[in-house]
């Protein structure tokens, strides 16, 4: 860890040298370890120490970005100059209205020393316990267990100076027999809060329960989608629909639908980067405080998320959802929450007469028809048949092809229990999801296992 004062003093001294109208520097430090296991032994075990520094400069509305991962003064100055060189060779961006000004952001504790101090040996000991537990059932296990600490700092010539240290711990686990598998995962800013034993038990039990799966013909079935399955769908909705870029480009399901009913009334989806029950990260990569944004509220399309560039385009204010500069992807919602319902997960299952429980989806793709949020994907690691309210056995994996907005308009219930699931944003986001029951979910194909 380099620390707030050294990061700020170094970057301030570089920014002071800038010839640009406005200059911004972003520091992302990462110190991570990841232990990967398969066939019940550790086969990859890695550590990384890195720091990436972005400079964004503006002259007459022209914006340039350059990046380095050296914190040496000379390299920082060279990178700043690279950014200025880029600026000079391009036309002004009429949508760019300047860097954000300082704002207050919520103080959230996101850094926990025991996670920082966690050693490769401690990670290996956890994996050893998991392997031994699986051995008892003659199963093998595979997965990854990571612990990391990071630093995010944003500073600009308008006076923004935001710093947040973060820690993250996450584990995923697949238990496997000859013809079945079961999945479970855990995620927290605090490694000591991850319930390794219950995660192991869940994966093992799912694997045992999904032995000898039977063939099931594709068709429309009532489904129980567990949080990992929902989180994978949310990843794609984030990419194709929740940001201001697809919204303004009219390719999002939100485009033309603000204020209209796009999902069932039981569905509320919001982004809240300051909620410490998720993986909080209280400001974005421009140093703007993350606002709580309801994307869908009680089934009604409410708002996409914005950064400063797209806020100017949309004639509104940034909601604090900028990505790293130069990504070109526009703002993204990374801290997704789906509001819990009132029923227990058990009662949702009990209410299904003839249906399927999905633990997890694999390889979803949401580019089929983005205004309709049409997606396809496969089930994996625990797909079960439900008959008269009870899980009666496992089925071979199925392919779904569905408009998610239509599917989420046929919600039969939302569980009161929620779980945090890792998403595409690593240390900077996650998805908190309940289990959701959806009626007549369309399975369009099947596979052999």
């Amino acid at each position: 860890m380099i620390g707030e004062s050294r990061i700020f003093s170094t970057l301030r001294s570089i920014i002071q040298k800038s010839e640009a109208d406005q200059t911004e520097a972003i520091f992302i430090g990462s110190y991570s370890g990841l232990t990967r296991y398969a066939n019940s032994y550790i086969h990859q075990n890695v550590a990384e120490s890195n720091a990436t520094i972005f400079f964004r400069t503006v002259i007459d509305g022209r914006v340039g970005v350059a990046t380095t991962n050296s914190f040496k003064r000379n390299d920082l100055l060279r990178t700043l100059n690279n950014s200025l060189m880029i600026v000079k060779h391009q036309p002004p961006n009429p949508d760019f209205k300047g860097f954000p000004r300082p704002c207050k952001y919520k103080k959230v504790k996101t850094f926990f020393e025991p996670t920082v101090a966690y050693t490769p040996r401690q990670r290996a000991e956890v994996v050893r316990k998991i392997c031994r537990e699986a051995d008892k059932f003659k199963l093998t296990v595979a997965g990854a267990f990571s612990t990391s600490s990071s630093e995010l700092a944003v500073i600009n010539s308008n006076g923004v100076a935001a710093y947040q240290p973060l820690t993250t711990a996450g584990i995923n686990l697949v238990a496997m027999s000859d013809n079945s598998s079961g999945f479970a995962s855990g995620l927290s800013r605090r490694v000591v809060k991850i319930p390794f034993e219950s995660i192991t038990k869940t994966a093992i039990q799912k694997c045992l329960d999904s032995r000898n799966p039977v063939d099931l013909e594709p068709g429309k079935y009532d489904v129980i989608l567990e949080p990992e399955a929902i989180a994978e769908i949310m990843n794609w909705l984030t990419y194709i629909g929740f940001g201001a870029k697809p919204f303004l480009e009219k390719t999002s399901f939100l485009s033309r639908n603000i204020g209209k009913k796009v999902m069932g009334t039981q569905i509320s989806i919001y982004d809240d980067g300051a909620d410490s029950s998720g993986l909080a990260a209280p400001f974005d990569f421009e140093g703007v405080a993350k606002k709580k944004v309801y994307i869908v509220k009680k089934g009604i399309a409410n708002s996409p998320v914005y950064d400063s560039l797209y806020a100017a385009k949309g004639k509104t204010r940034s909601t604090g959802h900028a990505l790293m500069p130069g990504s070109g992807e526009g703002p993204m919602a990374g801290n997704i929450f789906i509001a819990p319902g009132k029923k227990s997960k058990a009662s949702l299952i009990a209410g299904v007469k003839d249906g399927i429980l999905v633990t997890r989806f694999h390889y979803i793709n949401g580019l089929l028809n983005t205004p309709k949020a049409l997606m396809t994907g496969m089930t994996r690691d625990g797909t079960f048949k439900i008959k008269n309210g009870k899980i009666v056995g496992a089925v071979k994996n199925l392919r779904f092809t569905e408009s998610i907005t239509k599917a989420f308009s046929r919600v039969g219930g939302v569980s009161k229990e929620t779980r945090l699931v890792a998403n595409w944003w690593d240390d900077f986001g996650c998805c908190s999801s309940p289990t959701i029951m959806i009626k007549r979910f369309n399975f369009s194909g099947k596979t052999e296992f």
Binding site: S32, L34, T35, A38, N39, Y41, I42, H43, Q44, N45, V46, A47, E48, N50, T52, R62, V65, A66, T67, N69, D75, N82, I86, Q90, N93, P94, D95, P120, R121, R123, A124, R128, C131, A142, A144, S146, N172, V174, M176, E249, T251, G326, G328, H362, Y363, N365, G366, L367, P371, L374, T376, M378, R380, N397, R399, T401, S444, T447, E448, F449
Partner: protein, 480 residues
């Protein structure tokens, strides 16, 4: 830098590691994206550091740092050793590496025009000309174009005596016209979707892509798709062209042929493979005309190099020969499992990543058909072009692809355009129904700079040489 690496290797030897390597990588990337007449993103990034990989107590350890200070490098080497010792807590078998010749060599991509010396103004001028041309068609509401250039300098040294210096230069780009009307959105891309087409080459690759020459057609096709009927749902013959054929090879042959997936070490994230070891040498993956090679020597291919990140020299070998599985993509650790030697597929996406088995250039060998003859020979079918969506199960059997565009083929002629085409199948059944592949004249190596794998996630630059091919009894139009 070599001296620093040699010091690390010396230090690892004093630690009595069974094996060790140190890899310095300096990546430079220039990325330019425009939308309409606005620069959407323009950036230049430098990224460098050293990754150290060791075998201690029969297990792997890896640590990487962006600090090149001598004391930090020694600390990182010691951390790699410590991590390997931790790995040994769950050891089942000792890691054994296939013996190799330790090379001392240099390699550099052949290129004519250094893409980092081509003025940014010139690049922007071409991109803006493209987006201007796309926007001439008023149905096109969004015109996006991009270019990306990469330079990777790396030095690999091992405790076995290897010392290899390489410089890889890559260039590419593409564009997309998005037509919007009412709630309907249709896209057409050139030369491929998802950021275009890439090669190990300099800026001369951009000049010969025909970018501007195809812009008007691409825009008109995007606009025409708005009024086209949906692709019918039917079981029929399909001819797959362009970059879609490359993605078909990538997903249904490339990934399942990675031996680490076959052996289960990627199972928790990317999944396993139906191409299990018992199938080697006997399983009919495809029809007898299907030949697929892994070839890191293919000139200009985005997966070409001198040596992989274990110091294995670039090579060419069959994965599928006359339809039968005859090989895998391997590493020094996995090749002995099939009593073979590594075919050099271990690559890391940077200094901070461990090498994994990755595709290089995985090519479908050309067949004998002329493209016009293939169309003329097809009585009833659908022509599919340019990938839009992709999904495949975790053993790489059941796949579903969407393409940007399709056309009816009726009595040997291309007819009605269709929108929203989707096709699905099971991998071996699909490839066994391949009855025609176009010849070398229609063959192109498509570069894909975005192949994801591993935890932490890595992004590899891979390529696929393909030509249009025909498949019978394919289920089309399953999205409804």
């Amino acid at each position: 830098m070599k001296e620093k690496l040699k010091k690390i290797i010396h230090h690892l030897k004093t630690k009595k590691v069974a094996y060790g390597d140190a890899r310095y990588v300096f990546n430079t990337n220039q990325s330019i994206a425009v939308k309409g007449q606005t620069v959407e993103a323009i950036s230049q990034s430098d990224d460098m550091g050293i990754g150290i990989r060791v075998i201690v107590d029969g297990c792997w350890g890896f640590a990487a740092t962006s600090s090149l200070a001598d004391e930090d490098l020694i600390k990182t080497a010691n951390l790699a050793v410590k991590i390997a010792r931790a790995s040994a807590l769950t050891k089942k078998v000792e890691v054994q590496l296939a013996k190799v010749k330790p090379y001392i060599d240099n390699y550099c991509t052949k290129y004519k025009e250094d893409p980092f010396l081509t003025p940014v103004d010139e690049k922007l001028e071409l991109l803006f000309k493209i987006t201007d041309t796309l926007r001439v068609n008023k149905a096109v509401k969004l015109a996006e174009a991009n270019m990306n250039f990469f330079r990777t300098k790396k030095i690999f040294c091992s405790t076995e005596g290897a010392c290899i210096e390489q410089e890889i230069v890559e260039s590419g780009g593409g564009y997309t016209a998005t037509a919007v009307a009412g709630g309907e959105v249709q896209k057409r891309s050139y030369p491929a979707s998802h950021r275009g087409d890439y090669a190990c080459a300099g800026y001369e690759y951009i000049r010969q892509m025909g970018l501007l020459e195809n812009a008007e057609r691409v825009a008109d096709e995007a606009a025409a798709l708005l009024k086209a009927p949906d692709c019918p749902a039917t079981d029929t013959t399909v001819i797959i062209t362009g970059s879609q054929m490359a993605l078909q090879v990538h997903e249904s042959c490339g990934h399942p042929a990675e031996l680490d997936r076959v052996l289960g070490t990627e199972i928790s994230l990317a999944g396993g493979s139906f191409m299990t070891l018992d199938k080697l040498g006997s399983f009919r993956y495809g029809s007898p005309i299907v030949n697929i090679v892994i070839d890191s020597t293919a000139e200009g291919g985005l997966g070409s190099f001198g040596y992989d990140d274990e110091g294995i020299k670039a090579s060419r070998s069959h994965v599928i020969k006359e339809g039968i599985i005859v090989g895998y993509l391997t590493s020094r650790e996995t090749a002995p499992v099939i009593k073979s030697v590594s075919n050099g597929c271990m690559r890391a996406d940077g200094w901070n990543s461990i090498p994994l088995i990755r595709m290089t250039n995985l090519n479908l060998e050309p067949g004998e058909w002329e493209y016009d003859d293939l169309i003329a020979d097809t009585k009833d079918g659908i022509l599919l072009d340019t990938n839009k969506s992709w999904s495949i199960d975790d053993k790489r059997l059941n796949f579903q692809f969407g393409t940007e565009i399709a056309w009816q083929i009726k009595s040997g002629k291309i007819g009605q355009m269709y929108k929203n085409p989707v096709y699905t199948g099971m991998t071996p059944e699909f490839w066994n129904n391949c009855d025609a592949i176009c010849n070398k004249k229609h063959w192109h190596i498509w570069g894909i700079p975005s192949c994801g794998k591993g935890e932490p996630k890595q992004t590899a630059h891979v390529a696929h040489g393909t030509s249009p091919a025909r498949f019978n009894n394919v289920t089309v139009g399953v999205s409804k």
